[in-house]
Subunit: 337 residues, 2 copies
């Protein structure tokens, strides 16, 4: 075992509680003993046990974060934002993955409760829709990222997918496109629904009836592969522009265009969603909808902190922004084929 305050107490001929006080910034302690104890502690290689502290104070200074997968370029910065303010506040974060699996998400959240985390942050939960009651029973503060319609005890910070999608499609519309495709995803039902709706809303507002043949949805897990697979059907359906669920999907689509000898944006305009780090470096640079990912993470953690402080923070819906780069251009009808 490692050295405890008891060991120090013995060596210093003091009571354990005195050691405890000396090590904290407790007011009721002599300046001299404080010094002496601290020196002794360092000398003995004392490392305070957060575990014991947690048991006695009923606080773990720990939060749990559950994401579908970490290797999604979208997640990296979100996690980073969380970690940044968590560490700043003296918290550590348990990172776990749900792999887009409901049972696993439940299991993971269960484990976090056993670990007595002080708060939980869930990104793109697969549970919220169907198991709303499940969350009501959980006692620790929960903040969801990507939940646009929180209800009950759930707190959330999200980017406005609906408006973001509208922005994207309106941009395409403004360029003169009328046959605009959408590449969706099934394993992110929530945000996919909103982005699809935003796409449809924008079309309708422009007096265009949505054409089902222009919507490509598949259960291919890999975003890029799905993007690749979408080219043929969409192109066959006469699309002149495509709005993709996210940047990786767009990148896959771009790659398919390249292989097929189609020029972007001359033959086809492509717009993504997320604005991942590589988006600006893709060739040609990707036009996309920017999500403040770092900020998303920061605010979620800040919300946990507020909740812990007894406040009742308001849910936040951050707006996304259009970033025009070079994969979208005006419609040139003659360039098709």
């Amino acid at each position: 075992m490692s050295v405890s305050i008891y060991d120090i107490a013995k060596k210093a001929n003091l009571a354990p509680s005195t050691i405890s006080r000396a090590l904290q910034d407790h007011p009721r302690i002599g300046a001299e003993t404080k010094m002496r104890v601290r020196a002794l502690a360092k000398e003995m290689g004392y490392v305070p046990s957060t575990v014991a502290k947690s048991l006695s104070t009923n606080q773990t200074w720990t939060i749990g974060m559950v994401v579908a997968t970490i290797s999604d370029p979208f997640m990296g910065r979100v996690v980073e934002g969380v970690e940044e303010v968590a560490m700043g506040a003296g918290f550590n974060v348990f990172l776990s993955t749900s792999q887009n699996n409901r049972q696993r998400e439940i299991a993971v959240i269960d484990v976090l409760q056993q670990r007595r985390v002080d708060g939980i942050i869930v990104v793109a939960s697969h549970l919220f829709d169907r198991y709303r009651r499940y969350f009501d029973r959980i006692e620790v503060p929960i903040v969801m990222i990507d939940e646009q319609e929180p209800a009950g005890v759930i707190h959330a910070v999200a980017v406005d997918d609906l408006r973001g999608a509208r922005l994207a499609v309106e941009h395409l519309l403004g360029l003169g496109h009328r046959r605009i495709g959408y590449v969706g995803v099934t394993n992110r039902p929530k945000s996919n629904r909103y982005r699809l709706r935003g796409y449809e809303d924008a079309l309708k507002a422009a007096g265009i009836a949505p054409d089902p043949r222009l919507v490509f949805t598949s259960n291919i897990e890999d975003h890029a592969k799905r993007g690749e697979a979408s080219l043929e059907p969409l192109w066959a359906a006469g699309a002149t522009a495509v709005f993709c669920y996210n940047d990786m999907t767009a990148i896959g689509l771009l790659s398919a265009c390249y292989k097929r000898g189609l020029s972007v944006p001359d033959n086809l305009s492509v717009i993504g969603f997320d604005d991942i780090d590589t988006a600006a470096y893709i060739i040609p640079p990707l036009t996309t909808i920017h999500q403040p990912r770092l900020e998303l993470g920061r605010r979620a953690m800040q919300m946990i902190l507020d909740l812990l402080a007894g406040q009742t923070p308001e849910n936040q819906l951050i707006s996304a922004e259009l970033v025009v780069r070079q994969t979208t251009a005006g419609l040139l009808p003659d360039k098709r084929r």
Copy 2:
């Protein structure tokens, strides 16, 4: 507070220790009481406290992982690999970032010790070189990822940077290139040194004297930006091919070529390192050195498990592989300019 085994004991008219046994798969417990207690526990909404268990057993079923930054596309899969086998073995992982800062890495490792993690995994440590003794004092098992020359009590799993770099440069050499550039990085001193050495070794083996003007190193943090910045000096130095520290750097370089109207690979061959997910989708698809990132994480965590089981696992040096795609091609002297 939540319900404890004491609460259950009271309600069941049993001793707390009996409850404890009933909840575990303890042999010395009646089948009937076991059932009864478990049912009661579920009914009362009992959630076992890992904190208390940890204090009593001196095991936290927790490991700490420290990385420079999570938003590096290289890290994602490594973390995923760790998390995967950790979860499989009933462990949770604390993820923390060092931001390429020595002091912070020390602070982070310190906190992990206070939390009594059962093991620590450090990716690309900035400490190992100078503070070797620091690690000798740490009692929990430590496994380093990316440490090619582990020493002392340090265990490690790494990809062979030296050979990987040689592979890359030999590929370029085989294509007929003689003036090959290298884009390095300062904030990853370790692997950068190995890759640079591999680059030089390959050149020397081919009878080419390394030319300092062909080595571009800068302290620009952002990999892609650094790649972009490298084009002018390298091109001016007459490079016909460039080996980049990693894929993001290569992507930045590609982007700069595109903006400048240079064609890859016709005017310049480019090769990266890592084989990140987007590498295959970049235009043109990036030739690179493949690192088995998921495997790196898995093996590191497995090593921790072995260490915990009292075994003495051997350090592992995994070999990297060349993946030829379309950013490298034979030298065509006339195409320069």
